[in-house]
Each structure stands twice: as C-alpha cells, then as structure tokens.
C-alpha cells in the first residue's frame, strides 16, 4: 500500500462539506488557506468538486435533510479518501444532540456505507486551525 499512498500523503486535496454548521467551523477552515497558516505548504488545496477530493472536511451536526447529501458526496469521492469531522458537532452532535433536526453523528453515517472508511475527529467549538493541521498530520500518518 505504501507506494499507493505516497502521493496521497503529500497532496491531499480537500472538499468542504457543510452538513448543518453554524458557520463558525467554516470560517476556521478557510483560515487554513490564509498566509498565517498556508496549508499549501503541505500540498493541501481546497477543490470545488468531490470528484477531485482526497479528504472531506465535514462541519456541523448531520441534520436529517443533509444526511442523504452527505452520503451522495461520500459516494462521489474517489477512494482512498479520508473523512475529517471538524468540530464537536460533526464528531458527536455536541449541544444539538437532542435537537429534533439532528439525525446521527457523521461517523455513523459514513461507517454504515463503508465500514472501512478512514475517519479523523477534530473536536472543538470551533477547533483552532492548529488543531486541524495536527488532525490532518495524524490522519495521514495512519495511512
């Protein structure tokens, strides 16, 4: 597997999926691209289509409306790919876990489709950009 993931570790392209976030995590995700953090140093680029992506940055609680969309986006992402649950909402549902519109945590939705999916968790409300970079480094190290 090592030669297959050699390039993947050095150029993970990310696609940003908002499945019901309050926008706070989204702002922090965009901060990764700014001169202060500049993740292009590690080859990380934000792409516009899930078909180009190697990593899905999922933010927000997975609402009942968004669950089907999340499945579709995951199916359209070429494998191997990594799913990042950004923020406590995406990891567990956070303070919205009893809300009427909450479906399930993101990892359960993904695992149900693909039991071998690679899922990384970056908790926080919102997580700091440094935490996201650390999460990316740890996730890529396990490939």
């Amino acid at each position: 597997m090592s030669w297959r993931t050699w390039g993947l570790k050095r150029s993970p392209w990310v696609y940003h999926v908002n499945v019901g976030a309050c926008n706070n995590c989204d702002i922090e995700v965009l901060e990764l691209l700014t001169p202060r953090y500049d993740v292009e140093r590690f080859g990380i680029v934000l792409v516009g289509s899930p078909r180009h992506a190697d990593a899905l940055l999922v933010t927000g609680i997975c609402t009942r409306q968004a669950e089907a969309r999340l499945r579709a986006v995951y199916e359209q992402t070429p494998k191997p790919c990594v799913v990042f649950c950004i923020g406590v909402c995406a990891c567990t549902g956070g303070i919205f876990r009893h809300a009427y519109h909450f479906s399930r945590p993101v990892d359960q939705v993904i695992r149900e489709m693909d039991p071998k999916a690679i899922i990384a968790y970056v908790p926080g409300c919102p997580p700091k950009p440094e935490a996201m970079i650390l999460g990316a480094v740890k996730a890529l190290a396990t490939l």
Binding site: W6, G48, R51, H52
Partner: protein, 314 residues
C-alpha cells in the same frame, strides 16, 4: 526511429520543464499573497497521487469518449511540443508549414476538453464546455493574426522568402534581430501573450473552469487517472506557451551548441512564465461576454494594425 526518439524526448522533457513551470507559477502566486507556497516536487506528488486513485464515471456519462478525450488532448500537446523543440534545436530542418501545424495542433487540447466535458453528462460541465467554445472562438483569430506578423517580416527578406517554417523564423531573427524589437512585432507580441493566457485558461480567462461559480466546470466530473491526464496536458501547455512565444518573438534558442544560448533561452522562458503568473495574480476573472469583446474588438484591431505595420516594413 529517429522521429519517435525525438518525439519521446521532447514530450517527456517538456513534461519535466512544465512541472517545474507549474511549481514556479504556484510559488510566485503564493509569494504574491505573502504565503510560503508548495515544495518543489508538488506537481509530481499531485500527478502520482491522482494516478493511484479510483476513476469514477457518472451514470449519465458516455464512458468511452469521456475517458478518451484527455488522452487525445495530451497526445496533441505532446506533438506540438516536439515540433517546437525540433525547430529550435535543428532550425535548418523542419518543413515549410511548421507554424500552421503548431497552431492547429494546439487547438486540439481545447476541443478535446470540450468533447470530454459534454460527454460527462454534467450540467456544470456543459456550461463550462459552452464557455470554452466561445473562448476558443474569441482568442483564435487574434492569435493567428499575431503569428502572421513574423511571417510577413520574413517574407520581405529576399534571402528567406515567404515561409511558415519555425526554423527559418529562428534563423531570420538571428540576422535581423528579435521580432519584438520592431514596432509591429511588439504589438503582435502583446496580443500573442494575452491570447496564450487564454489558451492556458488562466485568470482572467478562466471562465470555463471558474471554481467559484462552476466548481471546476469542464473538468468537474474527472477523477483519478483521467484527471491526472488533464493536469499533465495543462502542464505541457504551460511549458509550450513560453517556448512558442520565445520562438516567434524572442529569437528562440539561437544556437543549440552554445551554453550561453541555452542560458539566454532559459531566461526568456522564466521571464514569460513569471509574466503570465503575474497577469494571473493581478487581474479579476472576466465574464465570457467581456472576454469576447476584449478579443474581437480590442485585440483583433491591434493585431490588424500590427499586420499593416509589418507589411509597410516597420
């Protein structure tokens, strides 16, 4: 066999040069934005990664045409690279219609892109393809007119006579000075540079892809190895454009045996790449109607003026 050897060397060499150029492009972009930018081998990592990924074909796509289009585009770009390098390395050979072949072959990647986008069955890609068609119609006329200026200049010289041979143009510029140094040549060079920017579909002419509105447009549905082919085609074109520009307007590679000539050629090459990158970073994206207006009513008259000046001998 010799021809196949030249073709393989030229296309692989151009690929390496192109990867370096795309790194220069990304690094300069990053520096303009006060960022650090990607490492030197980043374009290689990107392609290596894409080649190892899964290829997805959507249900609505016409699979065979969808997957063939990037390969056809890549092959055409490689042929153009081989002809251009051959004209620079062995200017005394080559045939009389080099320049026409290069201009025609260079339209094939764009046409293949349109075909692939339409075969992918995605509405976003269809919008991207229609914009790419309009872009092709817009820049092709001024590009051909600007390429005719050096041809008219050479045809006024009794030693060379009327020829479209790139090798003859390189030899002619060794005697008569760069095309850029004449008034008509300078005008044509400006037009050609803007047209090449559109040929590379870089900002301000990136309407077919337009990440913020079409999410990748004509390349939206491609993934894995087929996306890698598209990136390699872009890489080749990024390397071909400065070579084409240097051959027509900056004297080309004057003497393949001399190290100084190679150094000067590398300087011309990097200068054109950096110029293209700076144009890309300092301009906003134009709408497709603004693009067509710019090319047809802005640049085509300038190119026509350059043709008249060249015919008068300026």
């Amino acid at each position: 066999m010799e021809v196949i050897g030249i073709f393989l060397t030229a296309s692989l060499g151009t690929l390496l040069v192109g990867m370096f150029s795309s790194w220069v492009d990304r690094k300069v972009t990053a520096r303009v934005q006060y960022r650090v930018g990607p490492p030197l081998f980043q374009p290689l990592y990107d392609v290596a990664k894409l080649l190892c990924k899964e290829t997805l074909i959507s249900e609505r796509a016409r699979g065979r045409g969808f997957l063939m289009a990037p390969v056809v585009g890549f092959a055409a770009a490689a042929v153009a690279a081989a002809i251009l390098w051959y004209a620079n390395l062995v200017p005394s050979r080559g045939f009389v219609g080099d320049l026409i072949v290069v201009i025609y072959v260079l339209t094939i990647p764009a046409i293949a892109g349109i075909y692939g986008a339409l075969a992918s069955g995605s509405p976003h890609a269809a919008v991207g393809a229609s914009r790419e068609m309009k872009l092709l119609l817009a820049y092709e006329l001024p590009l051909v007119m600007s390429a005719l200026v050096p041809v008219i200049q050479i045809s006024r010289d009794p030693d060379f006579g009327a020829t479209f041979s790139l090798g003859a143009l390189v030899l002619f510029q060794q005697q008569a000075g760069w095309t850029l140094a004449s008034a008509s040549g300078a005008l044509a060079a400006v037009v050609a540079l803007v047209c090449l920017q559109a040929k590379l579909t870089l900002v301000p002419f990136d309407v077919p892809e337009a990440e913020t509105e079409l999410m990748g447009g004509s390349v939206l549905e491609y993934s894995g190895p087929s996306l890698a082919m598209i990136r390699l085609t872009r890489t080749l074109l990024l390397a071909i454009a400065p070579v084409y520009f240097a051959t027509l307007f900056l004297g080309g590679l004057a003497d393949a045996a001399s190290g100084w000539a190679w150094l000067a050629f590398a300087g011309k090459y990097v200068a054109v790449i950096v110029l293209v990158t700076l144009i890309r970073n300092t301009n906003p994206r134009l709408r497709i109607d603004q693009t067509m207006r710019l090319f047809w009513f802005g640049l085509a008259p300038v190119a026509a003026l350059a043709l008249v000046l060249a015919a008068l001998g300026y």
